[in-house]
């Protein structure tokens, strides 16, 4: 799938040249070589990272909240990130243009998104510590989401076309345009997140029987919940920062995987979901490039347009949502 993703794009490049570019040989065309090694390859890797992070976070949240509608963004993380970026890009309209000079650079966007996500997360975690009921956390997360969208609307209303446009494009999501350094950073955070999750695979399995059963089998529920929340925010935070709020993958991939795999064991599910997420993201990106056409589609539209019918079809056929 990754190879397919690499070989299809607006510019058709012979497979021989792709192979040479990837494995150290000289491609016959310098431009092609750059497109392969510095544009398509980072894009492919980003797609894999984004897909796996979001899907695993989604699975985590669905198990933790025992809610099929939970996804990586239920904690208000994407809204937080959007708020950060919105403040960065759109606040010029409200508070003068002092910001706007450094606003558009990618690092300030990443920083703003991370800060926003972290801020909302912090508030959610503080409330979560006070709230016993896991379902309330879910609702609180959703409320924060609505709250931030409202602020963004106000900011959007007062900003000019160019700023709005920049914000719109950010919110469409994109897996392109990451440098190798970005990818290194991305990968680093992912490794941390995945390591944390590895340690709660066991309690997650017992959580399938419910919070009380899990506790009776020695699970420290609060610690598990804390690790799950932090890992999710790390993963979705970094995804949103680098690739924008990518819709659908986090919600749907766990369902898809469970329907296909027919197991709930997280030891099997985790890697399966990660793989599935990566594959789906690669397919979406390949479609988004509209191979051999000069146009591209926003990745967010593709993930949903092509993913949603698949989930609906699978659910209609199987009729049952299982965790």
């Amino acid at each position: 799938m990754a190879l397919l993703n690499l070989s299809l794009g607006s510019v058709s490049i012979p497979f021989k040249d792709i192979f040479h570019s990837l494995f150290g040989g000289e491609s016959s065309n310098k431009t092609w070589q750059y497109i392969i090694t510095d544009y398509r390859l980072p894009k492919t890797i980003t797609a894999i990272l984004v897909g796996s992070s979001l899907s695993i976070s989604g699975l985590l949240m669905q198990t933790l909240f025992r809610n099929p509608l939970a996804g990586p963004f239920v904690l208000g993380i994407s809204s937080g990130a959007s708020l950060g970026v919105a403040f960065l890009l759109l606040s010029a309209g409200l508070f003068g243009s002092t910001f706007s000079n450094f606003a558009s650079t990618s690092y300030s966007m990443v920083l703003a998104a991370s800060l926003g996500a972290f801020l909302i997360l912090l508030v959610v975690l503080i409330t979560a510590a006070k709230v016993r009921n896991t379902m309330s956390i879910l609702i609180i997360g959703l409320m924060f989401g609505s709250f931030t969208s409202a602020i963004i609307s106000v900011l959007a209303y007062f900003s000019n076309a160019e700023q709005l446009q920049q914000f719109m494009f950010w919110s469409f999501g994109s897996v392109g345009n990451l440098t190798w350094f970005d990818i290194g950073l991305f990968l680093g955070v992912e490794v941390v997140g995945f390591t944390m999750i590895l340690f709660i695979v066991k309690p997650l399995n017992s959580l399938l029987l419910g919070e009380n059963y899990a506790k009776s089998m020695g699970v420290n529920f609060k610690t598990t919940r804390k690790i799950a929340l932090i890992a999710t925010s790390l993963l979705t935070g970094v995804v949103t920062a680098f690739a924008g709020p990518i819709a659908f993958i986090g919600l749907a991939v766990p369902h898809l995987t469970k329907l296909i795999m027919t197991t709930s064991n997280h030891k099997v599910l985790m890697p399966a979901v990660a793989l599935m997420g990566a594959i789906l993201m690669l397919i979406s990106d390949t479609i988004a490039q509209l191979p051999s056409s000069t146009y591209t589609l926003p990745i967010n539209a593709v993930t949903t347009l092509f993913g949603a019918p698949i989930v609906i079809w699978l659910l209609v056929r199987k009729r049952k949502i299982l965790f």
């Binding site: 750059y34 497109i35 544009y39 000069t294």
Partner: protein, 384 residues
Amino acid sequence: MQIALIKMFKLINLIRYIFLFAFISQYSCQDQVVKRERNNENIVTFAKGFELYKTDDYTKLIIKNPYPNANKQFVYYLVNKNQHPKLTNVVVIHIPIRSIVATSTTHIPMIDALNEANSLIGFPNLDYISTPRVRDLIDNHKIVDLGNNLQVNTEVLLSLNPDVLVGFSMQSENKIYKTIQKAGIPVILNGDWLESTPLGRAEWLKFFGALYQKDALADSIFNTIVNDYHQVTKLALSAKTRPTILSGNLNSTIWNLPAGESYSAQFFKDANTHYYWQNTTGNGSLNLSFETVFNQAQNAQYWIAAGPYKSFVEMRETNPHYSKFKAFKTKQVYTFALTLGKTGGTLYYEEAALKPNIVLKDLIKVVHPELLPNYKPYFLKKLN
């Protein structure tokens, strides 16, 4: 949220078209068959969006292309206040108008060029205006801010009660304008942004000339512009090279650049350059992938109008791929984003419509510097 975003995006895309690349809508042949007034010729030559017919009693103004893909046209009869010709069932506007509310910055320099800045009493978002004489009036609180330019504050506008509102519209239905018209304030839709040629856009000066009854002044200013433009075009033809041109910038993953039949592409053509997408159809903008643009224009000699960026550092930080273009490496990137007015408005968006000759000279100074040795560019600056 998603739906709202998409809606917003549509809107924004349209705004962008206004400011960056204009396009003209295709209108059918029937529209061109206009009933001629007796012995009178349309005095508009380059612009395709409006026509003017002068009679002894009145001037007939036809707005042919009020909004994109328009399938109807608007006819106004401009009548001198002291004359009372018998006209029934038509929209009459009494001229010369004394007060006006404009809605696009492109209107401002035209009004100013006719020495009528004093007549401007309202405008949405005053910060966008840079024209010095109008800025002075703003500083003296002579012009009322009407808020957001897509949602003009209706109440304030009604209370201003201008002789005419010159609006622009992106679609046939516009609730705000309807309300204003009901209140007895004439609304004329200005379609300058839909013109696909530089001279066509500049000719909208005659539209304002007719409103202020300063047709002669408008004609003479416009003729000067036309002569200068033609002269410079001829000069460009004497160049020995045809440098290659790249334009636009990436928005996320989509590279927006002017289509072959657009306003901007016309400048590239007239400056005697080789713009890579010269032969594409369409008068709006192209949305291409990075790969396509990189593959085709990696070795372009000049990069003209490189988005909103103000420095090479900002460009590279926004997107590292930019630095792989030859024009970036050789520092041959030029932008309109560095020429700003007192309150931050981009001069190009405001003044270029009336100064196509200057835009063309700027461009020639960049690509054929030997042709204009002593010229100092006005809009187009080298990125630093």
